[in-house]
């Protein structure tokens, strides 16, 4: 049986959750451990932490955060942002993360994917691909790096396929066109990449309501759906999202199980 995972994504800076997390009843909305525990209780299947810290000297803070999270939260979590080498990944994984996500560093040096897979196993390696529509690429979707600021000329389907072959365990596909719009996932891009890769595909970017989660799984054939603001702002709980998906015929792990 294929069950679709629901994954809240948290942006962290200097070990603190940023970008408008707004649960009224949290003592400290910036505490990644408290938020992670909350999402775990609500029935999240996994968590993704995206470290948006610009300076490299705060790596220790991030590793501390991972360590504390791993002490309290017993569902899988991925950490991405600033991982450029096997040693960077080792520090994160040894601290208790289950997977690392790489994006810009993998585009700049694709060999990194294979190095990580050989060292830690493919299941540890999430390759994050930021795609944007561009009719001049083969598939019509182009890869962007540096948080979506820099075009690469790479075709998104081609790059995802290559990442899969080099040892990615999962592809986390974010539509830069949809991200922040709340208009839903870019379904054609999900289908184009999903058809080309054999590993699980996580849909990201654009979720504004619970129907969008269903569309990602049913129309986009994604294996997991990732969202940030609809959960952080308290509009919808994970439990409500899962109940909605289940009612629409998507197999999910029920909240509270």
């Amino acid at each position: 049986m294929r069950t679709v995972r629901v994954i809240p994504c948290l942006d962290v800076d200097g070990g603190r959750v940023v970008k408008g997390v707004n649960f009224v009843d949290l003592r400290d909305a910036g505490d990644p451990v408290e938020l992670a525990r909350r999402y775990d209780d609500e029935g999240a299947d996994e968590l993704v932490f995206l470290d948006i810290t610009a300076s490299s000297d705060s790596r220790e803070t991030t590793i501390d955060m991972v360590r504390h999270t791993a002490e309290e939260v017993f569902i899988p979590f991925t950490v991405g942002g600033g991982i450029r080498s096997v040693e960077d990944a080792r520090a994160i994984l040894r601290a208790g993360a289950d997977k690392v996500s790489v994006n810009t560093a993998a585009v700049e040096r694709p060999g990194l994917i294979g190095e990580l897979a050989a060292e830690f196993g493919e299941q540890c390696v999430v390759v994050a691909v930021d795609g944007r529509r561009n009719g001049e690429t083969d598939s019509g979707f182009e890869v962007f790096i540096h948080g979506g600021r820099t075009p690469t000329g790479l075709d998104a389907v081609g790059w995802a396929t290559m990442a899969d072959q080099m040892g990615a365990g999962e592809i986390l596909l974010t539509s830069m066109d949809s991200d922040g719009t709340r208009d839903g996932f870019d379904i054609p891009m999900l289908l184009a990449v999903g058809r080309a890769v054999g590993v699980p595909l996580i849909a990201s970017g654009g979720v504004g309501n619970l129907d969008h989660l269903v569309a990602g799984a049913v129309d986009g054939l994604a294996d997991a759906v990732l969202a940030a603001s609809i959960f952080h702002f308290g509009e919808h709980t994970i439990a409500a999202a899962k109940a909605h998906m289940a009612a629409a015929g998507v197999a999910v792990r029920p909240a509270g199980s």
Binding site: R2, R67, F74, I75, Q123, G169, E170, D223
Partner: protein, 211 residues
């Protein structure tokens, strides 16, 4: 640290072993990551985690000088001795070998091989799935019907006489094995929320001094 029963989580330098240690501590064990022979000897229970490729895990176990220790502990557990739990590739290593790394020999404590997942499904299985438990005693006691667990694996052990739980993924896959006090689980109990913690709690309870 707790005063609970000492559990040795075999540390042979792979992946994320810390979650298994932390989860065992949460369930009352005095769990330590260790490759130290004396500490392993003194432990009331042994946990062998494992992630990544089968052959690489065995090579890492070898490089840490723990292959014989692990095999002897597993054989002892199977004969009713000190409890032993293998997790994910730590379970797969209990078998004779795996299609993933045909050059590597498993510990050979449970007969059978580990095979590639087939059946028109995405490989690896990376998701939560429900257990179909055929022997709900001891380690798997008190779990809800169709308990949800987190799986990450591209290969699975053949279903055989030691199988005590399966999950459905294209075909039924071996999800847990038991021989005496030797247990192996394909899923990650340390990553399966409170249902997974229950399994680790059962393991701790089965140890002398576990309550």
């Amino acid at each position: 640290m707790t005063d609970g029963p000492p559990v040795a989580v075999l540390d042979y330098g792979i992946g994320n072993l810390r979650s298994a240690q932390k989860a065992l501590q949460r369930m009352g064990a005095n769990a330590a990551l260790t490759a130290d022979r004396d500490r392993i000897d003194e432990a009331a229970g042994i946990v062998l985690p494992g992630v990544g490729a089968f052959g690489r895990c065995l090579a890492a176990l070898d490089a840490s000088g723990l292959t014989d220790t692990a095999r002897e502990a597993a054989v002892d557990a199977a004969a009713g001795g000190r409890p032993f739990l293998g997790i994910c590739v730590g379970m797969q290593m209990l078998f004779d070998g795996s299609d993933e790394s045909s050059g590597s020999q498993g510990l050979g404590v449970i007969e059978g091989r580990v095979r590639r997942i087939t059946g028109g499904v995405k490989c690896p299985q990376m998701q939560w799935n429900r257990l179909d438990i055929t022997d709900g005693e001891a380690l798997l006691a008190g779990l809800p019907e169709g308990a949800w667990m987190y799986f990450v694996h591209g290969y699975a052990a053949e279903i055989g006489p030691a199988t005590v739980a399966t999950c459905e993924y294209g075909t039924p896959l071996c999800a847990a094995v038991r021989r005496g006090n030797l247990w192996g689980v394909q899923f990650h109990p340390e990553k399966s929320g409170r249902t997974g913690l229950k399994v680790l709690g059962n393991f701790v309870k089965s140890l002398p001094g576990g309550s």
